[in-house]
Amino acid sequence: MTPKVKATVMEARDVDRALTRIAHEILERNKGLQDLVLIGIKSRGEVLAERLAAKIKGIEGTAVPCGALDITFYRDDQDTHTPDKIPQQTELPFDVTNKKVILVDDVLFTGRSARAAIDEIIDFGRPTAIQLAVLVDRGHREFPIHADYVGKNIPSSSKEEVLVRVKERDEKDEVVIAESEK
Amino acid sequence: MSKSILIQGGHVVDPANQIDGPADVFIENGKIAKVGKGLKVKADQTIDAKGKIVTPGLVDIHVHLREPGFEYKETIATGTLAAVAGGVTSVACMPNTNPPIDDQAIVHFIKSKAEKEGHCHVFPVGCISKQRAGEEMSEMGELKKAGAVALSDDGAPIMNAELMRRVMEYAKMHDLVVIDHCEDMHLSNNGVMNEGEASTVMGLRGIPAASETVMVARNIVLAEMTGAKFHVAHMSTAGSVELVRQAKKKGLNVTCETAPHYWSLSDKSIKNYNANFKMNPPLRSDEDVAAIRKALKEGIVDCIATDHAPHSSTEKQCEFDEAAFGIVGLETLFPVTYSHLVEPGVVSLSRAIELLTVAPSKIVGLNKGTLSEGADADVAIFDITSEKKVDVNEFKTKGRNSPFNGWNLKGWPVTTIVSGVVKYQAE
């Protein structure tokens, strides 16, 4: 079932500009890419992390290690959540200890996914810092979590859905607001 | 003195007297006084049997009443109540009690208990061997004198061929039929169901058909050698059928019985390891079931018996491997026979009644199973038109171990009369 789209809030070039800006902000805030690693939350966060890594390489000329998390096993709704899709593998091809981790996700909403991701990362080791980069912050936080890097703030109703689409998975880059399916 | 009863307007099936048509039955002084159309007699009680069939009370020569020793499974009182609820008026009870019926005192005990508490005629079967141990022959002469009608170690075979030879010789002198539970225990090898595709898929130890068939073969050879009367209990395999067929052709004193589950169920019927489908011999292959049906059709099978074997629920609601062998059968005997033998046209109604009345009586030498004038007034009335679901919770037997639970069947008993007294009346 395809959700009914109400409005397109970012088009491909908006997404690209936002990612370029975030890449610069990351380098600026961390004063280069020393000890920097990118970890995307599957599945679209993984794609965005790879894009950021490519942009950082374009700016600095050096590749930054990139990994991906599947947070299914760390969700805080294990009691009520019925697995509706097969969990993906977490792929962290580096040790996170003493690294500055940039956690990348597509949408920041309640903050629960970020919480799960942080818990999962610290099960792998002890990073010096974890920073959060998101393409969209739509508000409605339920946890004391904020994003360090935001592509666009999109105030939304909790009855709506904010969908990030990336061309690797969804044919084109865009961000849309849709009617909630629930 | 019992009341006189007139059973009016029914369809009488009395194979012993070649009656198969509308007739009335008049009962007086506990005996059959007259059978005929439109009887003009005055009776204390009239039973309207319109649309029903009226037959001699059924005779089941293979029943486990469990008393003495296993009263938690069944008693003479409950077992005979189940019998009359199934239209059965005479049962021969097997001697695997505790103590077993290897002694005249036990025969007397059962007979007196049956007279006091029983609901139908009870004829004890004596042990072949002392303590049913298969080692020394029992006091057959005394057992017969006390009232045993046949010999069997049922539940266990006589594995020792030499003993069987001597038993047959000695039993012949007493004119007692030897009923053997034909099973080679070595071949059975602790099996729990028929050996074949079904046991393989279920991962259960199999009992090969040969386990029964080789024993039938051995016993037929010994029956030929000794001239004894040999009866195959609960025949279940195609191989046994062939052997009995040949024995009969030779004119040997060999007879056989089969039970309703051997023509209505196969090893493929066992689902979810339900131990209510576990009995010995086990439910066989489709080929064996077909052979049993053919044997019934061709007259190779001499009679139908239930092998009614009640067990407590704890002995059945457990691991299939550990569950007791045996199922109850008295209360479903005629419905399964009618719905799965007569209705599909394997045998005629009259032949089915014969297999359930006069034929088994003859095998163990009972003067039962007929509506001849002067015979004991044992009569059953069946409804062969309305269908009803088997519900084990309605059973009179203590056992709930029936594989037929939930089946829709026709042929339910309506009234059962034993020696001129109504012992069962359907609600």
Binding site: D70, T72, F73, Y74, Q78, D79, T80, H81, T82, P83, D84, K85, I86, P87, Q88, Q89, T90, E91, D119, E120, D123, F124, G125 | E195, G196, E197, A198, S199, T200, V201, M202, G203, L204, R205, G206, P208, N272, Y273, T314, Q317, C318, E319, F320, D321, E322
Partner: protein
């Protein structure tokens, strides 16, 4: 995703899609076992009972590890004797456990069919960890996973199962599973160790090991219960080895890239030579590793369905 059942009782009753779901899910859990902290909170607060009525070390440890790596609480109930000897029926024991509100129960029993019986008597998820000679579904699933891992596919492969099929629940579950996934299955043993009607399960029967191995992609060696010799199922262990032991020499008849599997524990020098067990074709250690992942996947999927019912 296709997962609907409360229990995992047999491979026979699983659909191809369900098997695929378990295998796919297992891949994620395999990754968890490679972490330095090999634990995820997916079953936190859940109680898993290991109900073992038959001695078992490997399967019990594998399930225990699987449950622990998912943060479940584990209770082991080992009963050496049958329920009837103990004087309490199995169902009563189960009801006792059930009353303590458990979430899943992993059952191993020497009698075929026991997990099916228990599944009907409890709300907890029942996982069959081996019942009699009936089924051992998680073993077959880990075998399928291992085959797929090494061969990249299961469909179209020829798998030869060698040894005591009669008494083997592993063989039965694998026959069902391999055929559902599109493999061709051969069995090879003396007639005394093959159950009646085995060919009706769709397998090709061989008595000659050399012939059976020809063109085989997967050589699956069953454990020989040495005490079977006393039951006249084969004359001596020596003769059995001569005819049926998988040796390096014999293995040459299989395909060049054939893999060798064994459910363990092995009788080295009886059904399999040490050269083969430790050789390049052996994937026996991988089977053990994958066992934990597959069992984690099963526990995870069953948890989901149980919640879905509420």
């Amino acid at each position: 995703m296709s997962w609907k059942s409360k229990d995992l009782l047999t491979i026979q009753d699983l659909s191809t899609a369900e098997i695929q779901t378990i295998l796919d899910t297992a891949a994620s859990f395999k990754e968890v076992s490679t972490r330095s902290v090999k634990k995820v909170p997916a079953l936190r607060g859940r109680t898993v009972v290991l109900f073992f009525h038959e001695p078992s070390t490997r399967t019990r440890i594998s399930f225990e590890l699987a449950a622990k790596r998912m943060s479940a609480d584990i209770l082991t109930v080992q009963a050496a004797s049958s329920s009837l000897v103990k004087g309490e029926t199995l169902i009563d024991t189960l009801k006792t456990l059930d009353s303590m509100t458990i979430d899943a129960i992993v059952v191993r029993h020497k009698c075929s069919g026991v997990p099916l019986m228990l599944a009907n008597a409890t709300n907890a998820s029942v996982i069959n960890a081996g019942d009699g000679a009936h089924e051992h579904p998680t073993q077959a699933l880990l075998d399928l996973y291992t085959i797929n891992e090494h061969k990249g596919k299961i469909a179209g492969l020829t798998v030869t199962i060698i040894g005591d099929v009669t008494h083997s629940r592993v063989a039965r579950s694998n026959i069902h599973g391999l055929q559902k996934m599109g493999a061709k299955v051969r069995v090879c043993a003396p007639p005394t160790l093959l159950p009646a009607g085995i060919e009706k399960m769709g397998v090709t029967v061989f008595h000659d090991l050399d012939k059976a191995l020809e063109g085989t992609d997967v050589v699956y060696v069953l454990r020989l219960q040495l005490e079977r010799q006393k039951k006249n199922l084969f004359p001596t262990i020596r003769e059995y080895s001569m005819l049926y032991s998988v040796t390096s020499e014999r293995l040459k008849r299989a395909k060049k890239d054939a893999i060798v599997m064994h459910p363990g524990p092995m009788n080295r020098g009886v059904e399999i030579s040490s050269g083969v067990a430790d050789g390049p074709a052996s994937v026996i250690d991988d089977q053990v590793t994958n066992g934990v992942a597959v069992r984690m996947a099963v526990l995870y999927l069953l948890k989901g369905e149980k919640e879905g019912e509420k």
